[in-house]
């Protein structure tokens, strides 16, 4: 592989990892901090991506579209949480995956609005124009940038800012209550904390972060397809979460890079096998990582065992 192509390839892999990092940071807030096992997380990314895509293709500027997309995802979180957050953990998990599938099937069927299986095209058009301006600006000051660099920087800047916000919140009374809810709901309620309201806030906040990941995804891909938002996306997110460590924000970053490397980074390796078979083996490896971690190190690489609550 020649170096220039190689750079484009690695930029692609790392951009993908950065989008995943943001997505899983939202999941971490729900799963790691609050104890909400949300298997429908990708649905909120879909809300963010399609809201952004639909607004932009209807000539709304991206500066208006981005906050609206994030707000729509947060609203979706509230809407799902209100009736379902009182359910037991395993029921909640199944409900969220079902809700996500309802949304995906609806996007697939309402092709008049969303493009259906044909995809929602040219949602990233305005970003391409902005990207060209950025590249021109840098060329003006004598710096030749690869066209993938601006998005790579934006994606990781977003992930780091979201991560710093969460770390900042980690020292706040708000997150202390979330952790109390996770560790002993009854005790938190007995101490006069409105447990349900805190869970709802965590779900809405986590969904907003997923919505932001959806916005980044819209910039990243030229066309949005409903099948980009299948439950498998959430489960790969869980693989990242489990590998990095439930409860560890730093673990999310490391996990995203490792898993993105396994999923798309290994393409440069030349295996003496059909590409189908290699693709299958990648996901066998991801499955084995989930199984091995859950069996031997459920707290992941960077999580703390005493902070792990997986007993419902």
């Amino acid at each position: 592989m020649d170096p220039l192509l190689a750079f484009g390839f690695w930029a692609f892999v790392l951009t993908f990892a950065g989008i995943y990092a943001t997505f899983v940071l939202g999941l971490q807030l729900e799963v790691g901090d609050t104890g909400l096992i949300n298997f429908g997380h990708v649905a909120f990314m879909a809300i963010g991506a399609y809201t952004m895509g639909l607004l932009v293709t209807n000539d709304v500027t991206i500066w208006v579209a981005i906050p609206l997309a994030v707000a729509a995802a947060a609203a979706g979180g509230l809407l799902l949480g209100l009736p379902t957050l009182r359910l037991r953990a395993d029921y909640f998990a199944i409900t969220t995956i079902a809700a996500g599938e309802i949304l995906r099937i609806t996007i697939q069927n309402e092709e008049g609005t969303t493009g259906g299986t044909q995809g929602l095209r040219s949602a990233s058009g305005p970003w391409r124009d902005a990207n060209n301006q950025i590249l021109d600006f840098f060329e003006g000051i004598g710096v030749e940038l690869d066209r993938r660099v601006p998005l790579l920087v934006i994606v990781w800047l977003t992930a780091v800012l979201v991560g710093l916000l969460l770390v900042y919140l980690a020292r706040s009374p708000w997150r202390r209550v979330l952790r109390a809810v996770r560790e002993n709901e009854e005790a938190a309620a007995a101490a006069g904390k409105p447990v349900f309201s805190y869970k709802l806030q965590a779900l809405a906040f986590g969904s907003a972060i997923a919505g932001l990941a959806g916005v980044l995804y819209t910039l990243f891909s030229t066309t949005l397809f409903p099948e980009n938002f299948e439950p498998i996306f959430t489960f790969v997110g869980f693989a990242i979460l489990i590998l990095g460590g439930i409860g560890s924000y730093f673990g999310v970053v490391v996990g995203s890079i490792v898993i993105a490397f396994i999923v798309s980074g290994t393409r440069f390796l030349d295996f003496p096998l059909d590409s189908d078979k290699v693709a299958a083996l990648r996901f066998v490896v991801i499955g084995l990582i989930i199984m091995g971690m859950m069996a031997f190190r459920p707290q992941g690489l960077f999580g703390k065992k005493e902070e792990l609550y997986l007993d419902d």
């Binding site: 096992i37 037991r88 995956i97 809700a99 099937i105 991801i286």
Partner: protein, 291 residues
């Protein structure tokens, strides 16, 4: 009226497959507290074992049925001894086992993809035989095979659960594991029978799914969520409930196509799942206790 009868025939076919998958998933959930996300991939494996026997090796369909049942039941047992029993001994929680089963699902599904590829496969059955019952009401040979096989097996399983000692113990364990254990039930033996039953029914569901639709490495995964819906509908851990829940769900999905676009029928199934969990989480047949 004809449309109603035609959708009913469709609903009984898919509902029979759901019911076969749901009984095992529900018993394992109730008895072992394992929410097994790999159950769908058990089903897929059943379909591919049947494909290997029936198409690749050219043997009769009956042999394929038996081979698929045996293979998936054996897989259930092997996994019990290598993964689930050791994990339970270490005191793993519900969510820990659930997440582990998701990893297992990835592994099984992609090993199947590795071995058989991603192309659509069909079994060696008559795809085109259609009979007109009366008016516009038709039934295909495939539907007859699916409905009769599922029907006979479901009646046998329901009888087994009601009449035989092992069936009664399974239901007792699903009701309360500790109570059954202190009453002197040999729980280890029952756990083994539960996996044999769950595995063979999943294998059978896989063969019927391969006959009724086409077989891909995702076949069982796509069946898993409707099967969860059937389990929830019948009340988790309740084997009869799962049976009735599966058939009800199949019928509701197919009947819904008289009012909304057929491509929405999966979504209808998930809507039923969510509504039941919110309104009556103990299921239609369960009693309100441990929810």
């Amino acid at each position: 009226m004809d449309e109603f009868l035609n959708t009913t025939i469709n609903g009984l076919s898919s509902g029979g497959i759901y019911a076969l998958g749901a009984i095992g998933l529900s018993l394992v959930y109730g008895i072992l507290k394992l929410v097994n996300f790999a159950h769908g991939d058990f089903i897929t494996l059943g379909g591919y074992v049947a494909f290997a026997i029936n198409v690749s090796a050219g043997m009769p369909l009956a042999v394929a049925f038996l081979g698929a049942l045996a293979a998936v039941a054996a897989l259930g047992l092997v996994l019990e001894f290598t993964i689930w029993a050791p994990m339970r001994r270490r005191g793993a929680g519900v969510m820990q086992l659930l997440l582990l089963s998701i990893g297992l699902a990835f592994v099984l599904r992609n090993l199947i993809l590795f071995e058989w590829g991603g192309d659509d496969r069909t079994l060696d059955v008559d795809q085109f035989q259609v009979w007109t019952l009366f008016g516009d009401v038709t039934i295909t040979a495939i539907q007859v095979t699916v409905i009769v096989t599922a029907g006979v097996v479901l009646v046998l399983v329901a009888t087994m659960l009601r009449v035989t000692l092992i069936g009664k113990t399974m239901r007792a364990l699903s009701d309360s594991f500790d109570l059954a254990e202190v009453s002197g039930v040999n729980t280890r033996r029952v756990v083994i029978y539960t996996w044999l039953l769950a595995g063979s029914l999943a294998g059978l569901a896989g063969v019927l799914a391969a006959i009724y639709t086409t077989l891909t490495p995702n076949t069982g995964w796509f069946l898993l969520l409707p099967i969860f819906a059937a389990v929830v509908l019948g009340g988790i851990g309740n084997a009869y409930g799962a049976l009735v829940g599966g058939i009800t769900l199949g019928l509701v999905q197919e009947w819904s196509t008289m009012f909304v676009r057929p491509t929405y029928k999966e979504a209808i199934g998930f809507l039923v799942l969510i509504l039941v969990l919110i309104v009556r989480p103990q299921g239609i047949f369960g009693q309100a206790r441990t929810v």
